[in-house]
């Protein structure tokens, strides 16, 4: 057994155990637990039988890259949707992330799309994917800088208003002491 196989098997065992535990513990999220359990089982199986990958097609670098990118896009999409769902992220900030995830997914599902890009630019498939990811990450970072600056500006404005209002309140309270006592 090679090291990658062992890693895959070990991670699969942990995933499988965790999801089985949560399947029986929290009765509400069973579908999610089953899903992750299946992935865990697949990982364990792939650890012992590396040829397992061939059920998706002939083993090749391209297939492996597609698998990894599929996983990546899946993670991006679920994490973004989850973040929006529990309203930790506003929709408009999630938009670029969702677009990235969907674009990656499109690249996985339709390799011809990527081949078209390859034919157009002369950049090999794997590198092309990296370039797409890189460009999008740059875009998102820029987006965040803008959002951050705006937020900073608004924060300063709010802070000023608050300080002024507080000062005014102090003056009013000084004028009528009984209201300050309350």
């Amino acid at each position: 057994m090679t090291i990658p196989q062992m890693v895959s098997a070990a991670a699969g065992v942990i995933l499988l155990g965790g999801s089985l535990y949560s399947f029986f513990q929290h009765k509400t999220r069973r579908f999610k637990a089953l899903f992750w359990g299946a992935i865990g089982a697949a990982m364990v199986y792939a650890g012992f039988r590396p040829t397992f990958i061939e059920i998706l097609g002939p083993d090749s670098t391209e297939l492996r890259i597609r698998l990894i990118v599929a996983l990546l896009s899946f993670i991006v999409l679920t994490v973004t949707l989850e973040a929006i769902r529990i309203s930790r992220m506003q929709e408009r900030y999630g938009f670029l992330w969702l677009a990235t995830g969907l674009l990656l997914l499109a690249g996985v599902l339709f390799p011809d799309l990527a081949r078209g890009v390859e034919a157009l630019t002369g950049i090999g498939y794997g590198v092309a994917v990296l370039m797409v990811i890189f460009a999008f990450i740059l875009l998102m970072l820029f987006h965040f800088s803008v959002a951050l600056s705006l937020t900073q500006h608004k924060l300063a404005q709010v802070a000023r208003e608050l300080a002024l209002a507080e000062e005014r309140l102090r003056r009013v309270e000084r004028r009528s002491p009984e209201s300050a006592e309350r």
Partner: protein, 257 residues
């Protein structure tokens, strides 16, 4: 607006002047500074803007008996000054003098600013360390930086500026209105001058003696000088590229106010 003070009163600030003091962690300096202001500028109201100090400054302010603004989070000296300008405008003041909370700007030197402002032809007066014999010394790196910045800013404003980083300033109501709307944030002085010049305001420098800070630590570290220069140069350049804001163009403002 546009009033001038009579000759014999030139040491006494006009009635409608306020002193704005932005402070950040100046627990030890604030009380002596306020006392000094009271001696040299008797009867002039003071507003201290506490930029969310982490020491006992806020507690101290409750005991000193002047107006103060407590910012709920640290927004930098520029943001703090903007709050001060807003306050001064709301209270109907026509002139504001800015003193730094570290005691670098001696209140005794304010008369020079007031005199210059009384001539009525400028909207902002800066106290310059390098005009006359200010006797100010600093690290070599910082001095070289200031000299370079002064040259650049003088070119950008088409006017000789010897001390671009001086925060020892007096502004009139027109400049205050503009600053209340727009004032650069981190190290605002050079950029503020550039903005003023771009909007058609006029300003002048008078010689002023600065002191060493009285107690505590400066908030600019050694590497800060280099980063500061870089940031300011970028800001100056970008401001040059921006269009003049017609709402706050000086000629327009004069008609409105």
């Amino acid at each position: 607006m546009g009033q001038s003070f009579s000759e014999d009163l030139d040491m006494i600030p006009p009635k409608n002047t306020i002193v704005l003091i932005p402070v950040f962690n100046e627990e030890a300096n604030i009380a002596p500074l306020l006392k000094e202001v009271g001696e040299h500028l008797p009867g002039v109201p003071v507003c201290v803007i506490n930029d969310c100090s982490t020491d006992g400054t806020a507690q101290k302010l409750k005991t000193v008996g002047c107006a103060w603004l407590n910012l709920p989070c640290n927004i930098g000296v520029g943001g703090a000054m903007q709050a001060g300008f807003r306050y001064a405008l709301e209270q109907g003041f026509d002139y504001a003098i800015r003193l730094d909370g570290d005691g670098q700007h001696p209140p005794a030197e304010c008369s020079a600013l007031i005199e210059r402002m009384a001539q009525g032809d400028v909207d902002l007066v800066t106290g310059s360390r390098f005009l006359g014999n200010g006797g100010y010394t600093s690290t070599r790196v910082r001095q070289a930086g200031i000299a370079g910045l002064a040259a650049f800013l003088s070119w950008a404003c088409r006017q000789k500026i010897t001390d671009p980083t001086s925060g020892f300033q007096m502004v009139n109501r027109l400049a205050m209105i503009y600053f209340a709307y727009r004032y650069p944030s981190d190290y605002p002085e050079p950029e503020a001058l550039a903005l003023l010049s771009r909007q058609g305001y006029r300003f002048a420098e008078v010689p002023a003696k600065f002191r060493e800070r009285q107690a505590g630590k400066s908030s600019i570290r050694r590497w800060g000088t280099v980063i500061y220069l870089f940031k300011v140069c970028v800001a100056l350049f970008v401001d040059r590229c921006r269009a003049v804001d017609p709402r706050f163009d000086r000629r327009h403002m004069e008609e409105v106010v």
